[in-house]
Symmetry: C3
Subunit: 115 residues, 3 copies
């Protein structure tokens, strides 16, 4: 199966398509504000953009792993998620607390999608 | 490839089948007792049920990510896992500590399986 | 699709190939030194060996999830990662902090690869 990679750095790709399956890098907010809802909204826009460039869309999400630096932001994250996700085609999902690469990041989301 | 989703809410699906690959949501115990072994047993039953409804079984597990709210429950979780897993066909696995959506949850398990 | 498992214990497989997709177990250093860079180097050698036995290589990595017991080891881990990864074909990646199965483990890496 063909592998396509987008937004490559020397370290990682932001998205990789393998046949009909797409793996995105963990996405964080580019300009993180101290608000988990706003960070989530920015992340979800980035995910949608990456999926689009790989021939997919949010209605094709298969799985999402959501990391919150503070699990108390669960509801704030969900308020952005619930407004965004394709409610007819939501992915499998897990949400756990984990410190992220920098303290300014409150949310990181890593998804797998169908092409 | 066809995508099938089961136990959909407005937020997530508990299971998604994409061609021959199945992604389950992170499973937690429905009525969590303060005992990681009992929670793991309940989770593994739920995983088995979801896999069955998607045309698979525990012998087809490919990968499992296990989150423990306290890594000191590693042995308790494993005592339930070892008794359950198909020892001829065990998945790849990682276990890490992470706070979960509510403090009552001691264990969360997210798996990928072959259909 | 055929499923092949290698380095099976009663608990898990170190690698599972499902058709053209490979899932490895979370890899840790066998003889962990108190140095995240050295642990990462050892882990990456193990990943390369497992991928090779399953008919793949580091240039076929699709996704990597990296767990650090202390996120302050981010740069040390990356110094080993950047020297190792196929810079033309890097995977999608996420790095988060999580306590691991034993305190001696500073790094754990779980990957998905194309065969």
């Amino acid at each position: 199966m063909t592998v396509t990679r987008i937004d490559k750095s020397h370290r990682m790709s932001q998205g990789v398509r393998h046949g009909d399956t797409i793996y995105l890098a963990g996405q964080v907010a580019d300009n993180p504000l101290p608000d988990a809802k706003a960070q989530t909204e920015e992340i979800l826009k980035k995910i949608e953009g990456l999926l689009g460039r790989l021939g997919s869309s949010k209605g094709n999400l298969l799985s999402a792993t959501i990391y919150l630096s503070d699990i108390r932001n669960f509801d704030a994250m969900n308020s952005a998620w619930d407004a965004w996700v394709d409610q007819e085609n939501p992915p499998a999902r897990a949400t756990v607390q984990a410190n992220l690469a920098a303290t300014k990041y409150l949310v990181e989301i890593m998804v797998i999608a169908a092409a």
